[in-house]
Symmetry: C3
Subunit: 479 residues, 3 copies
Amino acid sequence: MGNFVDCCRGFWCGTKNPNVRISLPVVCFVWQIAMIILFGVFVRYDEESDAHWSEHRHEKNITSDIENDFYFRYPSFQDVHVMIFVGFGFLMTFMKRYSFGGVGFNFLIGAFGLQWALLMQGWFHSLDPTDGTIKIGIENIINADFCVAGCLIAYGALLGKVSPVQLMILTLFGITLFAVEEHIILSLLHARDSGGSMVIHTFGAYYGLTISWILYRPKLDQSKHLGSSVYHSDVFAMIGTLFLWMFWPSFNSAISDHGDGQHRAAINTYLALAASVLTTFAISSLSAKKGKLDMVHIQNATLAAGVGMGTAAEFMITPYGSLIVGFLCGILSTFGYLVLTPFMEKYMKIQDTCGIHNLHAMPGILGGVIGAITAATASESVYGHEGLINTFDFEGAFANRTPAIQGGFQAAGICVALVFGIVGGIIVGCILRLPFWGDPSDDNCFDDEVYWEVPEDEESIPPILEYNSHMVGKSADRM
Amino acid sequence: MGNFVDCCRGFWCGTKNPNVRISLPVVCFVWQIAMIILFGVFVRYDEESDAHWSEHRHEKNITSDIENDFYFRYPSFQDVHVMIFVGFGFLMTFMKRYSFGGVGFNFLIGAFGLQWALLMQGWFHSLDPTDGTIKIGIENIINADFCVAGCLIAYGALLGKVSPVQLMILTLFGITLFAVEEHIILSLLHARDSGGSMVIHTFGAYYGLTISWILYRPKLDQSKHLGSSVYHSDVFAMIGTLFLWMFWPSFNSAISDHGDGQHRAAINTYLALAASVLTTFAISSLSAKKGKLDMVHIQNATLAAGVGMGTAAEFMITPYGSLIVGFLCGILSTFGYLVLTPFMEKYMKIQDTCGIHNLHAMPGILGGVIGAITAATASESVYGHEGLINTFDFEGAFANRTPAIQGGFQAAGICVALVFGIVGGIIVGCILRLPFWGDPSDDNCFDDEVYWEVPEDEESIPPILEYNSHMVGKSADRM
Amino acid sequence: MGNFVDCCRGFWCGTKNPNVRISLPVVCFVWQIAMIILFGVFVRYDEESDAHWSEHRHEKNITSDIENDFYFRYPSFQDVHVMIFVGFGFLMTFMKRYSFGGVGFNFLIGAFGLQWALLMQGWFHSLDPTDGTIKIGIENIINADFCVAGCLIAYGALLGKVSPVQLMILTLFGITLFAVEEHIILSLLHARDSGGSMVIHTFGAYYGLTISWILYRPKLDQSKHLGSSVYHSDVFAMIGTLFLWMFWPSFNSAISDHGDGQHRAAINTYLALAASVLTTFAISSLSAKKGKLDMVHIQNATLAAGVGMGTAAEFMITPYGSLIVGFLCGILSTFGYLVLTPFMEKYMKIQDTCGIHNLHAMPGILGGVIGAITAATASESVYGHEGLINTFDFEGAFANRTPAIQGGFQAAGICVALVFGIVGGIIVGCILRLPFWGDPSDDNCFDDEVYWEVPEDEESIPPILEYNSHMVGKSADRM
């Protein structure tokens, strides 16, 4: 009991205990068991993944198995899956001693988040009214991956400063908030957002930034020596960058309309991403003394165009319109890294490890605005009669909506995403400030030693050991 | 002649000569030429890859080119291909000085194995009775990749302790054994095993473990300092882990039935893999003194669910059933790494470098058992009349089989895989013990120096050279 | 003004100034803005990516969205995209201190090149005569990626010796030349070259080699210590190798005919690549003193079969024919690395950093020859009546062409590619010799320091710093 009091005092006075030996297993087990029970009660196969498919086919007069939605979307799903786990994961390996935490906790968040997302999104979007169950198919698992992306973006702001238990909590609430804001934006406002500029990026980024603001660490510079990269960690991060960059066309087209919708979304995103590479290189070189390029910019700002095209990709934004979006996103994002991130850390107490404000927040809002403008200016002459209805789903209760009104609702969607991100971030941030979640102390951030068994350094392989024993002694102490 | 006697004595008394300058080229050339001749005699395009396809289409009244099996399976094939070469390859780069051997010999085995597999599997499954040739298409090359996976699993147990010549022999026999046991399990017993829990994983793992037992090296601890990882080699291994984890849904669905079969297999595997990540993290943290996670567990045990779903993925195991399988596999596999691998090395003389017993053997058997149970409990109310017939292929000679009987045959399949693995392993292990295959000595294991030109170390780049010349001298000696 | 004169004198007398702070941003901005304007004037969606698709479908009686070309080609496109950015990019990370430049400049070239290629190829192949615009769809963006590949091959010869500004110029002219030679070969000569043995590889390689010859650096050995690999950089390069190797079947089949064409091209390439791995390992081992394998061979020569099958992949070359091609390519390419590269550097003044002569030039020509022979020997008995017409497009103006004549035109295509590569290379090489493009001096090649902010070395992380302060001082100087 005295021990317990001591413990509490220690916690509230700021002595951090990053031992998660009890808390992490408990959280993992309890939540996984909860998932199993909830899936048992609620989740079933939909008609395209159920063994009754062949009967369903005959009923609906579907001529061939190839028209199963699986074949329309599975290749894109796999690309999205790679983005979530390798893309985000390796993008976060850039620090000299936080690669395990970057790719490893990303893995953990993703694996939990996608299960919870299937449930939360299912309750809102795929509930079968006849039996109260959620019917899942390929589109649901793409959406679950999307939902996870929001939380991984938030992790980017907090990288190296939080415990895996905090990340699990961030994910639990993040997915929940996501599903609600998504329901409001896509169903109630009937906004279109196939690549999630608003729903995923704006929400995820402000959620993470707000949490980072609440968890502000005034003495973080004690860990500064570990917060930068080494040569090979920058190369690892490029694996993440490139897989995100290459597969973003699949991300923005994965759940667009069959046929021209997916086709156009992929082409538009492909073009925008190409343009942003050039402007990123230009600004990066222009801003450095001897014109030297900065890997931070190349790793991140080249991707901003994917975010910026998240809403408009499936619209008739035209190929040159896509290039313009990419052009602007590359510039905006690189300037963010040069100017805004240091500014926000110094004056606004927001420590944004990966610079998600530059990669997701600003391009996300820009993407929402571009989407609203593109929607508002849509016309039957450009889209065709059927095309306009298909692209904006002007059907059922929304049959009378005009493009101009649609533009207004798109803009409203941005605000919803922002509000959910910030308010949600404040609430979850306060929860994460509680002192028993096992986060590292200020001089222990960005260090895999805290949560991982880290192998000995390469410097200490045998032939060198003999000659530099003092070095090894020191190095071994760190282990 | 005296030289020859000396040579022999040297060999039989244990002096190892790992020079493969003659043997490796001879094996590669002879076997590759044999492949060319056998392909020349036996292998032709099937009707979907032959230029007569357009005529075949008209005959069979196929309305569109999109119904060519290529479009059903090629995306999954490419994912499987990535798993075989990048997934398995990089998973084996975790050691500080055996990354070349890990990824490089994996490449060699794979490239030879798939050719031999096309022949062996072709003779059993794709022989055209009209002209005695093997007709190959997309499904054959997926199956060839699957077949190779069995041998790569076996390599996992032997990593760092065998020569490339031994690996070529292991592959030659492994593929042969695989094709026979596969024929017995899938054709004669008519068991279903689309992701190969039995056929691939159980067989491959026991084949490798038995060989490792026969090749037991009592003095392997002389190489212990090279058998562990360094920081960046663990990050490389995560590339392998993630590509295996992400693409396992494609592995288990690649050759399932068109339509709902592939769709359901992908979803089930996706869910099971997610669950196993959480239980792996939980057990890994729980088992360490300060709750620190172990990269070995994260790299391997998270994948066990893919193995465990290898048989049941295409069945109506239900989404929560998949989560339960994943839950159990993560726990089982992590416990294996914690308890069984050291136990087996100490008391059973099985040195299992990658822990394939935990990742493939146990989850493989578990997967077979789950498949048998799921099959035995299948019913028309769950699958529908047509669905049950399609899923279990209750057609032709097997039209009268009931699910309960099918369950029995599934269980029999596990035994066949086990027997083939163990008996095959004993025979091949004895062949590999012959002293002229160029394997490394006990103090030379886990070292790329033996079979590769290894570049100088990073430590010795010029600016440092000047100051640490003794270090360089030593380091250069190693080259 | 005096400053300017000094500057000029410095340039012409050989003092290099690799500061690209003005030139690189100017080039990037001006060219990107030019792209936007040209796209604005010329580029539109084609009927399959335009919102009028649903009307187009009804008109043409297309039964399902799945027959949109997107679903035939998008998975292959994504594989090609991975080859261009991760494959080529990581293959060029093998040097100890040029990984940033390898993967980063590859990224820049690719992103610019694909935009310019869409225009150049569009003007030749996709111009809509009714309104003078280029209509783009999935096939165009695959072709744009192909076009970029030509320039990236050329970069391989120049890796580490040129500035990013020079690379942008190389790409601008390279794409232009490519589009013209492609038009001549594919449209005027009506040769088939779906995987680009002639159009991409032969052209790209001779273009790069000729430029390298013109930019010959007699004192390059001053940078020799940086021109080799370290252990982990070789593992990074294997990522590039494997993604190229695995996805080459997609490369050669991406734009083949729907149905059997794509199917057969993938299978043939898959087989050829497997065979080349075995012969590469064989020759590599045979050529080294103790039979030790050389990573340079494994990383490169294993890929030669993909190049060698670039023309014939879609033909009925038979499975064993594919194996023979792979067999030869592996041998030819490995011998190239062993014998020709050093010879060419010493006696022909061609410094070929990545050995593109062995990986692209020779196998490219061989591939063209194999294609010509296979085409010349085609017959109706093998292809079927329709199959022959489909495979060789013997329609319209070419309806009367026979296979034998086709073979002749295929051979002519090789010559066109060669001439364009060499003549183009001479012209562009002379332009790149101008002294104001910011290339590094001879003792500064293969060093990322020149164009990149390079992080501190791993050796100097804190615990070691204290003990080796002299080392750190030196190491910091390099930064």
